[in-house]
Symmetry: C2
């Protein structure tokens, strides 16, 4: 019943999205112009400024059929990083979930507590993990995530998202998406864009909430992945998760995975400052023949969220070199999080 | 200009599909019932028989909201094999293309003619290739397909599809899609299904014609793939094709790749008799919790197409065991190919 209700909600969302797209496609330039002439603001949570103007100008230019920069619907692809771009990443929700799974495994197999990198992860030894780098994280992931069917994994991740709360913001992680970005997603879809996730988080974790929180269906989620194989449980085929990394969707694998899943360069790509992991995704979009727009979210709002930078500022430097639009959370966003209690009414949460 | 025209065609197709879906979603059960009550036949190229009745009954059951078997739009996923399911496969068009690329390479590097498996491929030594098996085919593919950017590869494959003709049927390969299956694709989409390709052919080859011939966008194509990496040509990032196989989308990799790309078990899956390569895809669909339908196309029409079977009849045996619906081309289809000259009017060809 619960699943059916969830899916019906998704169907309603899909139906509304289809209607919005269809009416705009029919209306074509008039549909687009009307929205501006009516003075309706598609991005009310954005302050008036260079970033907001760049977005609205861009969407107008590529969707008005008489525009020199007109882009047909088939090529209106927008890709978004997740952690730090669409919702907060201090801490990364999936990291908390993975750690919970490791703790559970360690309670059944205490020898894990003596072995690195598990020891460091279980003891919160951040310095060790930082020095050990990506290899250690992958080692943790392989152990924490493998050895179950997709269906069982999905159920456990859903249970986590249904109950876990952010340690300081005291709300469920799914309630901590950024309203300005939710508006941007809906705005783009209303103009015929297909919106995709392309993130370092794992595909299977993001798929659980992508439809309900972002309006992005499971089939438009690109992330990191474990290898899998088919097995049989009785006569029924299942997908079994193997302790091997299939793809780590970060840095230069993001363009490769976008090519694999979409096959069209993003017309718009959005990432964020933290590790430099989104630079390649934005460069790939920038290399599109014809117009394109790249957004880089800068976490510079210590009051309403968190302020953090990269050690080498690689993302901000790339923004200057390639012409990415830097979005300042402090200056460009009216709100960073929806007021408590309003989120559930704005969108379904898992 | 040519690309723009092609893309605009795709946009129109998309707009029509959206409208069709939206009106049916709105109309819900009434929309679905009307089509039957009006007596309009959604599958005019199908003879009345068990297969056609099974399809229409199934689509009705899963899309009428008062039905016990109702399936929400989010889960209406249909996957189709390509060669032998949606268009003819004697010969496989992509095989002809790949051989052409090998010949071109051999004209520049004659030493290829002395090395197996290239020698066998260039001399048409089918017996050698059959004995050498999949490994030999992969070796050929790696050499024939790598060492270029995605954009250059796509251009060459498009040029092939624009000009090459079937050796005996004397029409372009893209004109040899099966009208009964094109009707089925459109019928499913009108009822809110997303239609996907899941085929042993390579993703990048199928993407060139999937929208124009099948109405399936590039982002809904799952196939075999080469590994890729990002490179820079001046300041511009490109995707470079490497001489390594990333995935061979056949047999038990089909369910795995469906899970990777879609994340939802197919509500309907269609494959064909030849190698047994579609059995796993159909089994995976069959394992869905709730209703599902699997179609297995049987090439039993020596008059209008070609009659061929598997040596071990694995697909037909699986159909009996699992309850897949066998579609006889001879008995179930009124037409196998559209009359010459009508194809271009029915759908855009590349």
């Amino acid at each position: 019943m619960r699943l059916a209700a969830r899916a019906e909600g998704a169907a309603r969302t899909a139906a509304l999205a289809l209607l919005a797209s269809a009416s705009l496609l029919l209306g074509g330039p008039r549909g687009a112009a009307a929205q501006n002439q009516n003075g309706a603001d598609p991005l009310p949570s954005w302050n008036d400024g260079a970033a907001k103007r760049a977005i609205i100008d861009f969407v107008g230019r590529v969707t008005r059929s008489q525009s020199a920069d007109f882009v047909p619907v088939a090529e209106r692809i927008a890709t978004f990083a997740n952690d730090g771009t669409l919702w907060q990443e201090k801490p990364v929700a999936e990291g908390v979930f993975a750690l919970g799974r490791l703790r559970e495994l360690a309670s059944r197999d205490p020898s894990l507590r003596q072995r690195q990198p598990f020891k460091a992860a279980l003891e919160g030894d951040v310095a060790y993990l930082r020095d050990a780098g990506v290899a250690a994280v992958l080692e943790l992931l392989k152990v924490a995530y493998a050895g179950v069917t997709q269906e069982r994994f999905t159920g456990e991740a859903r249970a986590f998202l249904d109950t876990a709360r952010h340690p300081t913001l005291a709300r469920r992680y799914t309630e901590l998406a950024y309203p300005p970005m939710l508006e941007l997603l809906a705005y783009l879809r209303a103009y015929g864009f297909r919106t995709w996730l392309c993130s370092g988080g794992t595909t299977d974790f993001m798929r659980i909430f992508s439809q309900d929180v972002y309006g992005i269906p499971a089939e438009q989620v690109i992330g990191s992945e474990l290898k899998r194989e088919t097995r049989f449980e009785g006569p029924r085929m299942v997908i079994w998760r193997l302790p091997e990394i299939e793809t780590l969707d970060d840095e230069h694998m993001k363009p490769v995975n976008i090519d694999r899943h979409i096959g069209v360069r993003p017309l718009l790509a959005a990432g964020n400052v933290r590790s430099g992991g989104d630079v390649a995704q934005l460069q790939y979009s920038r290399g599109r023949a014809g117009p394109s727009l790249q957004l880089l979210i800068n976490h510079d709002d210590a009051t309403r969220e968190f302020a953090y930078m990269e050690r080498d500022s690689a993302s901000l430097k790339a923004a200057r070199t390639y012409g990415f639009v830097v979005v300042s959370m402090r200056r460009d966003w009216k709100t960073v999080f929806a007021p408590p209690g309003t989120v559930a009414r704005q969108r379904r949460v898992p």
